[in-house]
Amino acid sequence: MKKLFEKHNNWFFKTGFVITVFMVTLVVIGQIWTPYDPAAMDAAAKAQGPSLAHFMGTDNFGRDLFSRVLEGAGATLIIAFFVVLLGAGLGTLIGALTGYFGGVVDEVLMRICDALTAFPSVLLALIILAILGPGRLNVIGVLGLVFIPSFARIVRTEFARIKKLNYVSLAKLQGVPTGRILLRHILPNIMPVLLPAISIGFNNAVLAEASMSFLGVGVSASEVSLGRMLSDSQNYILRGLPWYAIFVGLTIVLLILGFSLLGEGMRQEE
C-alpha cells in the first residue's frame, strides 16, 4: 500500500483513494448495518425532506432513504465488481493468447471484437437484456460480455509488444514454459495499462448498471440498485421533492469520481 502511494504520488490518486475508501466503507457497513430496515415502511413519516431522524429524508412509503441508498449502492457495486471480473478476466485471457500467439485465432477473435466494438456496447446490452428480461445475474452476464472486447484489445496490444522484447527471448532460452512466460514474465508488465483500464471499466459498469436499471431492464422490480432508485426518484422531482434524486445522483457521482480519479492517478506517471 505504501509502495502504491510512492509510485503514484499525485493528487488525482490521493483524492480518488480517499473518496473510494470512504464510499466503499460506507457500502460495506451498509451491508451489515443500516440505521433503519431499508424495507420498513412508516406511515407517519411519508415523503419527508432531510431531518435529524432521516438524514436523506424518506420516500412515499416512509422508508429511510439513507438506508435504501446504502443497500442500493451495495447492489450496484457488487454487480459492477462481477461485471469487471468477467470482462477483465476473459478479456485478459483472450488478449494474452491472441497477442502472444497471433495467427488465425488472433484474426478471428479480433474480427469478432471489432464487430462487437462497432456496435455501441450499452445499446447492445440493452437489446440483449430486453430479450432476456431483468435480473441481477442477467445484468452481470450481459454487461460482462460486452465489456470483454475493450479489455481484450488493450491486453492483446501489450502482449504483442512485449513478446518481442529481449527479456522474453531470454526466458525462452532459459527453458521457461510458455504458460509461465505469459503469467509471470509478461502479465506483471501490463499492469500499468490494465489497472487504469479496470478502474475505468468499473466506472462504466456502475454507469451501465444504473442506465439499465433506470430504463427498467436492469435489476428486477423487487431488487434495489442505484439505477432503479434514480428511476423511482423521477416521480418525486415532478412533485417538487428533489432530495431523492439529489442524494441518489450524488452517490453515483461520488462512486464514479473516486474510481475515475484513481484510474487517472495511476495513468499519470506511465
Binding site: L165, N166, Y167, S169, L170, A171, K172, L173, Q174, G175, V176, H185, P188, N189, M191
Partner: protein, 246 residues
C-alpha cells in the same frame, strides 16, 4: 587449448530470404543470409563483424533458435546457448527484482530451495563485479553498465559452454565498454566459454576475439585469425572496416 579442440557449433550453408512486393507488383527476393558456413570451437571467441543490415543479427537469431525458417543446417554440440543482448534496457524484466531475474533460470534448472538459489545468485553477482545490495533492485534502478553485468550473470548462471553476445557493448559509454569487455574476457577464462561475438566495431572485436568472420549483405567475405585480419585484410570491405576502427 589442446591440438584438436572440440566443435561447439557448426553452421552449414545457411541461407534465408524474404520476398518483397514492389508497388508495381514485381516480386523481389531479398537475401538476408546467403550460404553462410563456419565452425566455432571450444574455448574460442569468434567475432562476427559487419555493418548494420549485414545479416549478423539474423544469423544470431537463427543460431539461438528464434528464426522459424531458414535453409541449411545449424548443429549445436553443447547444451542450449545463452545470450547477452545489445540493449540492456529491454534485456531485463522491468517488473522484477535482480534476485527474481537471476533466480528464474535456477528455478528452471530445478533448484527449488530459495536459500540455495540465493547463494548461487550472490556468488554470481560477485563474479560480475556487483554485490548483495543489488538483490532487491529493479532494472530501472540500475545503470546501463550494471544492467549489462546482470545480463551476463543471467546468461552465466545457466552454466552454458557457449554464449552468443549480440553487440553487448555498443549501447554503453567507452569506459563502461572496456569494463564489460574485460568482464567477458575474464568469464571466458574462468568458465572455459566459447563466444560468438557480434559487433559492427572492429576495435571491440580485436580486444576480445581470436578469430573473425566478416559479413556483408548476408555473405561471408572474409574469415581468419584476428591478427591476420587486422594487419593484412584481403577484402576491400574488411580493409574499410579496419581503417574505420583505427
Amino acid at each position: 587449448m589442446n591440438d584438436t579442440p572440440a566443435k561447439i557449433l557448426e553452421v552449414r550453408n545457411v541461407s534465408t530470404s524474404y520476398t518483397r512486393k514492389s508497388p508495381l507488383g514485381k516480386v523481389k527476393i531479398q537475401h538476408v543470409l546467403h550460404d553462410v558456413s563456419f565452425d566455432l570451437y571450444e574455448g574460442e571467441a569468434l567475432g562476427l563483424v559487419g555493418e548494420s543490415g549485414s545479416g549478423k543479427t539474423t544469423l544470431a537469431r537463427a543460431i539461438l533458435g528464434f528464426l522459424p525458417k531458414y535453409e541449411g543446417t545449424i548443429r549445436h554440440f553443447s547444451e542450449r546457448p545463452q545470450v547477452v543482448f545489445q540493449d540492456p534496457y529491454t534485456a531485463l524484466n522491468p517488473a522484477k527484482t535482480v534476485e527474481w531475474i537471476l533466480g528464474e533460470p535456477l528455478r528452471m534448472l530445478g533448484i527449488q530451495d530459495a536459500q540455495a538459489r540465493r547463494q548461487k545468485i550472490l556468488d554470481m553477482l560477485i563474479k560480475v563485479g556487483l554485490d548483495e545490495s543489488y538483490l532487491s533492485r529493479k532494472p530501472s534502478q540500475l545503470s546501463g553498465g550494471q544492467r549489462q553485468r546482470i545480463s551476463i550473470a543471467a546468461a552465466l548462471i545457466m552454466e552454458p559452454r557457449f554464449i552468443v553476445a549480440d553487440e553487448p557493448v555498443s549501447a554503453l559509454d567507452v569506459t563502461i565498454q572496456a569494463q564489460i569487455l574485460e568482464l567477458l574476457a575474464r568469464m571466458k577464462e574462468e568458465f572455459g566459454l566459447s563466444y560468438l561475438f557480434i559487433s559492427h566495431d572492429m576495435n571491440v572485436v580485436y580486444q576480445l576475439c581470436d578469430r573473425v568472420i566478416v559479413m556483408r549483405k548476408g555473405v561471408v567475405v572474409e574469415e581468419g585469425d584476428i591478427d591476420q585480419i587486422f594487419d593484412a585484410p584481403r577484402h576491400p570491405y574488411t580493409r574499410e572496416l579496419v581503417e574505420a576502427s583505427k
